[in-house]
């Protein structure tokens, strides 16, 4: 069995839908934005499960930034104070952005490689939206959205991958080329392209028209499994050829994360990537190995500020609090 979970961190499905009876968000004026929010919210809040509606106008700045750091909302939505809103399920696995680039951007997040389950979950919500709202659709172009790149299924299926060995062995550029030939997009989760911080990459489909939802999901899954295979092979080679160097790298990073007195978000991200290698290769054992993935997001500036119970943190205080929070958490989670 291939250890997919040491490579695939999470899966996400996004569906873009637009209303026929309102101009698209970039053209909305006055009360129309509210009406769109109300129409969408009325449908979603009537579904099974608990949903909460947050308008960007009323949402406190820090809460909005935390949502953005968790990828629940985009910066585009965050900046749309006039008409942006998000509808969140209580477990935060469903996020429906209203008046982002499109009237509706519904997303479902799952841990690990779970695109199929994520789609099934989101599809039920989508059925309700389609049944109750006047959704723009054309027989040839499929679901009509603001940008031509999002017509057809309006779907983006993406996975977040941890690819340290492919990065360290300089294979990422050829991987990225290869995937783009298959109409898949690769980018760093934090930072850009092959300079991705923490060795974290996002792979998603570029094509949304002329393919079925199933085609898209299958393609992303197939490519993800291939990438897992390549990454695990590269990890094996790294251990074979550079065992001492690799361990040194991992434990130096561990040393920083558990001993530093101040820690910037950048330095944390860099060291967390190295420590994650150590966890994946079994040099370091934690009670829960996915803890480090959670920390990646908890240690971002706004989330950290919220965790500290503050409204704002000065730069120095932020770095000190991060260092203390990370070292305490990691030390208590380690199994010797």
């Amino acid at each position: 069995m291939m250890d997919v979970n040491s490579v695939v961190i999470s899966s996400r499905i996004r569906l873009a839908r637009s209303l026929k009876n309102y101009v698209f968000p970039s053209c909305l004026v006055g009360e129309e934005g509210y009406k769109v929010i109300k129409e969408v919210a009325d449908v979603v809040t009537n579904l099974d499960g608990e949903y909460k509606v947050f308008t960007m106008e009323r949402l406190p700045a820090l809460d909005a930034e935390v949502m953005q750091e968790k990828h629940l909302i985009s910066s585009n939505l965050l900046n749309n104070k006039a008409s942006g809103a998000v509808i969140l399920s209580d477990d935060e696995t469903i996020s429906i952005m209203v008046n982002e680039e499109d009237h509706i951007r519904a997303q479902c997040f799952m841990k690990g490689l779970s695109l199929g389950v994520a789609y099934e979950t989101l599809n039920k919500i989508d059925d309700a939206l389609i049944e109750n709202l006047d959704i723009a659709y054309d027989d040839t172009l499929g679901f009509l959205n603001s940008c031509i790149t999002n017509v057809g299924t309006g779907m983006r299926a993406s996975v977040m991958l941890f690819l340290p060995a492919l990065t360290l062995s300089n294979q990422m550029n050829s991987v990225i080329n290869n995937l783009s030939n298959q109409r898949l997009t690769v980018r760093g989760v934090f930072g850009e392209g092959s300079e991705a911080q923490g060795y974290l990459y996002q792979v998603s489909n570029a094509r949304s028209l002329g393919v079925t939802e199933k085609d898209i999901i299958n393609k992303v899954i197939q490519s993800t499994l291939k990438l897992c295979e390549l990454e695990l092979e590269a990890r094996k080679l790294l251990v074979q050829n550079n065992d001492v160097e690799l361990k040194d790298r991992v434990f130096r990073a561990w040393g920083v994360l558990t001993n530093a007195y101040t820690l910037s978000a950048d330095e944390f991200m860099k060291c967390a990537g190295e420590v994650k290698i150590g966890i994946a290769l079994g040099f370091i054992k934690l009670k829960d190995n996915s803890l480090i993935d959670k920390l990646l997001f908890d240690a971002l500036p706004s989330s950290l500020t919220q965790l500290a119970g503050q409204e704002v943190l000065g730069e120095k205080e932020e770095k000190m609090f991060r260092a203390k929070f990370i070292s305490t958490t990691l030390k208590s989670a380690r199994i010797k």
């Binding site: 599809n123 027989d139 940008c147 017509v151 002329g210 393919v211």
Partner: protein
Amino acid sequence: MFYNPFEATKNDLAGLFNEMYYETHAPRKENIYCKRCKTTLLDFLETGFVGCSSCYQTFLNDAKSFAFDVHGMGGHVGKAPKREATKAVKMRELENLIKEKEKALRIEDYDRAKELKRLIDNLKEELK
């Protein structure tokens, strides 16, 4: 504004002329815009963005070739809203009935043609 003298006529022959007329007298791309949101065809072709769903009707042919450039050839094959799906099925049914009626007329089977005309009218009514 561009005036299309055939707009009001509805029969198939006029439709054909209509198409031919558009090909030879098509307004310049610079002058085409969506009446609802004022997005111009040139804006759309430059940015890939439209301002409302009506833009796609106004720019339909350009939108289709643009979409095929971006995504590769092939129309939508994914999920379809239920009412649209039934509509598409009925449209195909209608086309078939029209063909059958023409066939019946060719072989001078007027009873059959009359019956088919009734079915066609019913379907057209449903599709309104």
